[in-house]
C-alpha cells in the first residue's frame, strides 16, 4: 500500500524493458524452453518465462520504484509543460496567453502527424496531472499525526465514504420515524430516472477514491447506496447518489429522424438509405399513396418474384398498420435478391420514422429485432475450430455494448489451425467497431497484459464467415514470430 496507484503505462514500460532485455540476450536455450512451453500448451502467458528469470518474486517488497512521483518532480513537470506550451504557441504564431488545450492538441497533430491507429500511442502534450496517475501525498503532518481520521484502516477514502453514506441512511431513517410518529408519512413515490444511468463500475470507483478496492467492498458500497435510494430520501441525498451514477447512452435516443420533405406537387415524402450485406438501397416514401412500391423503375411484384422478399418489404408497414397507405419509390444495387429486399426494408423503415410519432419509433426499436439497424448477429464461426476454454470464453463473452471498447484479451491457445512451424498464439481482440480503412496499415495494438508492439498486418485471410482474421507479427522480435491473430468481428456488409 506504499504506492497505491500503479499506472498501466508504468507497468507496461517495466515489462517492455524486461522483454527487450531478454530478447537482446541471445540465449538459445531460453527461447527453446519458451517454445517448448508454448507447444506443450501450458496455458501460461507469453511473459511468464521471461518474468520469473529476471525478477525475484518477493512478496513483501513494497512496490515503490517506478511508479512513485515526488511532489517536486510533478511540480517540475508542470513548469516544463507551461514553458513548452508557450514555445509551442510561439511556433504556431499564436498568442501564448490564450493558448488552450485544444490548440495544443491541434498544434501537436500538425507538427507531429501520426498515422497510428491507437490514439494513446500518438504524440500527446497534456498537463502532467492528466498524464501521471494521481498519487497519494504523504498522509501525515510534521508531527506524524495522520490527516484523515480513518488513516489506520488502510482504505481511508473508501471507509470514509461508507461512513458518510451510512450516516445519511441513519439520518433518513430517523426523519422517517419522526414523520411516522406524527402520522404524515409520504406515499411511496416511483423510482426516479434510474433508467438511462448505471452505477459506476469498480474501476471508476477506484479511480475516484484513488484506492484499490476488492469486489466485496464495491458490492457493499453499491448495496448501501441502493438501500439509501429505497428509503425515499430527499433531494439532497438523491443528488449525492447521482454522483455515483453514469449516463448510459441508450440506443433509442440515437435514432435520427429524417426531416419530411415536399416535392413540387406538394406531396410530403421522406427519403432514406438502407443497406444489408452488400446491397445498397435508397427509398422515397410518400405520405399519401395506395401501397405501390416501385423498385428500380419496376413494380415490386415483378422485381421480387419470391414471396419471402415481398414479405420483407411489407413488414415495416404491417408493423405500423400502414399497409396500403404509402407509396414507395426505391433504387437498389448490389447484393443478391434477399439482401436487396433487406436493404429496401431498412430504408423504408427509416423513412417511415419521420411520419410516425416518437413512441412508435421507440416501439419499433424495442419490439423488432434490428428493424432500424443494419447490424446482424455474427454467425457461429467458432463451431469448427479446435476448442480451447480460455479463447472461447473470451470470444463468446464479448459484449458489444460494453464501455471498454479497446480491451484485448490475450490468452494462449494452441493450434489455431496449421500455421507451419510458427509458435502461434491466438489472441482474440475485441473491437467495438472495426474500422475497415485501417487494414493494411500499421496498427498499434495495445493490450494491458502484454508487450506493446507496433504490429504490421501482413496478411488478411478472408474466411467464409463475416469475421476477418488478421495475423499480426511484431517488429520488435528478431524472428518473425506470429504474435497473435486478430479477430475483428466486422459488419456483415464488408466487401474487403
Amino acid at each position: 500500500m506504499a504506492a497505491p496507484c500503479v499506472s498501466c503505462c508504468g507497468a507496461l514500460c517495466y515489462r517492455l524493458f524486461i522483454g527487450s532485455r531478454v530478447t537482446l540476450a541471445p540465449r538459445q536455450g531460453f527461447w527453446k524452453t519458451a517454445a517448448a512451453e508454448f507447444q506443450r500448451g501450458a496455458g501460461s502467458q507469453l511473459l511468464k518465462p521471461i518474468h520469473t528469470t529476471v525478477v525475484t518474486t518477493k512478496k513483501n517488497v513494497p512496490v515503490s520504484r517506478h511508479e512513485t512521483y515526488t511532489e517536486e518532480f510533478i511540480k517540475k513537470q508542470i513548469e516544463e509543460f507551461n514553458i513548452g506550451k508557450r514555445h509551442l504557441a510561439n511556433m504556431m504564431g499564436e498568442d501564448p496567453e490564450t493558448f488552450t488545450q485544444e490548440d495544443i492538441d491541434r498544434a501537436i497533430a500538425y507538427l507531429l502527424p501520426s498515422g497510428l491507429f491507437e490514439k494513446r500511442a500518438r504524440p500527446i502534450m497534456k498537463h502532467p496531472e492528466q498524464i501521471f496517475p494521481k498519487q497519494r501525498a504523504i498522509q501525515w503532518g510534521e508531527d506524524g499525526r495522520p490527516f484523515h481520521f480513518l488513516f489506520y484502516t488502510g482504505k481511508q477514502s473508501y471507509y470514509a465514504l461508507m461512513h458518510e453514506v451510512y450516516g445519511k441512511v441513519l439520518q433518513v431513517e430517523k426523519h422517517q420515524n419522526q414523520l411516522q410518529v406524527k402520522g404524515v408519512l409520504p406515499e411511496k413515490t416511483e423510482i426516479r430516472d434510474l433508467i438511462g444511468s448505471r452505477w459506476l463500475i469498480k474501476e471508476e470507483l477506484e479511480e475516484m477514491l484513488v484506492e484499490k478496492l476488492s469486489d466485496q467492498d464495491y458490492t457493499q458500497f453499491i448495496r448501501l447506496l441502493e438501500k439509501l435510494l429505497a428509503l425515499q430520501c430527499g433531494p439532497a441525498e438523491e443528488e449525492f447518489v447521482q454522483r455515483f451514477r453514469r449516463r448510459v447512452p441508450t440506443q433509442s435516443q440515437q435514432q435520427l429522424r429524417e426531416p419530411v420533405q415536399y416535392d413540387e406537387r406538394g406531396v410530403a415524402f421522406s427519403a432514406c438509405e438502407g443497406k444489408r450485406k452488400s446491397a445498397r438501397a435508397e427509398a422515397v416514401v410518400y405520405e399519401q399513396g395506395s401501397g405501390r412500391i416501385t423498385v428500380n423503375g419496376i413494380d415490386y411484384l415483378l422485381y421480387f418474384p419470391v414471396l419471402q422478399d415481398r414479405e420483407q418489404l411489407m413488414f415495416p408497414f404491417h408493423f405500423l398498420d400502414r399497409l396500403g397507405k404509402h407509396d414507395v419509390t426505391c433504387t437498389v444495387s448490389g447484393g443478391g435478391r434477399s439482401s436487396q429486399a433487406g436493404a429496401i426494408r431498412l430504408a423504408m423503415a427509416r423513412a417511415l420514422c419521420s411520419f410516425v410519432s416518437e413512441k412508435e419509433v421507440e416501439w419499433m426499436r424495442q419490439e423488432t429485432t434490428k428493424l432500424l439497424s443494419h447490424r446482424s448477429l455474427e454467425p457461429c464461426w467458432w463451431a469448427d475450430q479446435p476448442a480451447t476454454a480460455a479463447w472461447l470464453w473470451s470470444r463468446k463473452n464479448w459484449d458489444p455494448n460494453s464501455d471498454v471498447q479497446e480491451r484485448a484479451d490475450w490468452t494462449q491457445a494452441d493450434g489455431c489451425g496449421g500455421m507451419g512451424g510458427h509458435e502461434n498464439v491466438c489472441c482474440p481482440q475485441r473491437h467495438g467497431v472495426s474500422p475497415p480503412e485501417h487494414r493494411g496499415g500499421v496498427v498499434s495494438a495495445t493490450a494491458p497484459h502484454c508487450i506493446r508492439a507496433h504490429v504490421l498486418l501482413i496478411s488478411i485471410r478472408l474466411s467464409h464467415s463475416s469475421s476477418q482474421r488478421v495475423f499480426i507479427t511484431t517488429t520488435d522480435c528478431p524472428s518473425t514470430q506470429v504474435m497473435g491473430c486478430l479477430h475483428i468481428p466486422v459488419e456483415t456488409d464488408s466487401k474487403h
Partner: protein, 289 residues
C-alpha cells in the same frame, strides 16, 4: 466512596503491573512514548520526542514544565466528575452476559449473578474507569495518537463519529493482519503508530479476542478496553469491566472518552497560552526580578 478509594489505592499500589511508574513519573526513556516510528524514519531529539502538540515557539524548558505539570496531580483533568456509579447504573453498565459465557479472568470483577445473568461490580468499574480516563486524558494532553477500536457493526458509526469529534482516529473495520506489527510495509517507512488504543468492544464478530489487543501488547502500545463478562482482560493495560452490548452503555463510554480527550486538549492549549503569556510578561518586565 470508601470502598472505591480502597480499590483505587490497591490498584495504584499494585506493583506487579508496574502501574505506579506509568502514572507517576515520565521515566520511559528508551521506549519513547511520543514517537513510535518504525524503520528508517528520522529519530527526532529526545526533548521534542515526548510532545507532539503544536508547540509554536516554546522554549524547551518551558515545554518540559508544560509536560510535567499534570503529572504532579492525581486527577489533573478532574475526570472523576464526568461520571458516577449512579450514572453507570442508569446506563446499564452493570449488566453482563449469562453465567455460561463468563470468562474465568473476569470473575474478580463480577459482583454476583442474578437469574443466571452476571452483574458487574460498579465500584470496581468506577475505579478502573477513572484510571482509564485519566490515562487517556494524559495521553491526549501530550498529543498522542489515540485509536478507537471496535468491531461491532451496531456501533461502528457511533465510534467513528466519536473519534472524529475529538480529533482522533478510529478503526471499526476489518483489521488487516500486520497493521500494527508490519505498519512500515503497509503505510510507509516513517509512519507513526498509535500511542493508545481504546477498545469499545474487545471481541470481534466471531466472539474471539480482537487481534489488535495482542498486537498492541507486542508493540508496547498501552490499551484501554471495555471488557464484558465474556472477554479476556489480561492483555489490556487499563481494563474497564462493563457492559459493551447495550446502546446506552456504549454511548456513555463514547461520551466519557470524548469528553476526557477534549478536556485534555483544551487544557493543553490553556496551559501553553498561560506559559506563553508568562514568558512574554517576564521578558517585558526586563532582566530585573
Amino acid at each position: 466512596m470508601a470502598p472505591a478509594a480502597a480499590t483505587l489505592s490497591r490498584l495504584l499500589c499494585a506493583g506487579a503491573w508496574r502501574r505506579p511508574q506509568l502514572c507517576a513519573t515520565v521515566a520511559r526513556g528508551p521506549v519513547r512514548p511520543g514517537c513510535r516510528t518504525l524503520g528508517s524514519g528520522p529519530a527526532p531529539a529526545v526533548s521534542e520526542c515526548e510532545d507532539h502538540c503544536g508547540v509554536g515557539g516554546l522554549a524547551p524548558d518551558v515545554r518540559e514544565q508544560v509536560l510535567r505539570e499534570p503529572l504532579k496531580h492525581a486527577d489533573f483533568f478532574n475526570v472523576r466528575e464526568l461520571f458516577s456509579v449512579r450514572s453507570l447504573f442508569e446506563a446499564r453498565v452493570h449488566l453482563g452476559h449469562k453465567a455460561g459465557c463468563r470468562h474465568r479472568f473476569m470473575e474478580p470483577y463480577i459482583f454476583g449473578s442474578r437469574l443466571n445473568q452476571d452483574i458487574i461490580d460498579l465500584e470496581q468499574t468506577a475505579a478502573h474507569l477513572q484510571l482509564a480516563l485519566n490515562f487517556t486524558a494524559h495521553m491526549a494532553y501530550r498529543g498522542g495518537v489515540i485509536l478507537f477500536v471496535s468491531r461491532s457493526r451496531q456501533f461502528s458509526h457511533l465510534v467513528e463519529s466519536t473519534a472524529r469529534a475529538c480529533g482522533e482516529y478510529a478503526h471499526t473495520r476489518y483489521f488487516k493482519g500486520g497493521l500494527l506489527t508490519n505498519a512500515g510495509l503497509l503505510f510507509g517507512p516513517a509512519v507513526r503508530l498509535p500511542d493508545l488504543l481504546i477498545f469499545l468492544h474487545t471481541l470481534n464478530n466471531v466472539f474471539e479476542p480482537h487481534v489488535a489487543v495482542r498486537d498492541a501488547a507486542k508493540m508496547n502500545i498501552p490499551t484501554v478496553g471495555v471488557v464484558d463478562t465474556n472477554c479476556n482482560p489480561c492483555l489490556l493495560t487499563y481494563p474497564v469491566p462493563g457492559n459493551d452490548d447495550s446502546p446506552a452503555a456504549v454511548q456513555l463510554f463514547c461520551r466519557l472518552f470524548r469528553l476526557a480527550v477534549s478536556r485534555a486538549k483544551e487544557k493543553r492549549r490553556q496551559v501553553e497560552a498561560l506559559y506563553r503569556l508568562q514568558g512574554a510578561a517576564g521578558q517585558g518586565a526586563g532582566p530585573a526580578p
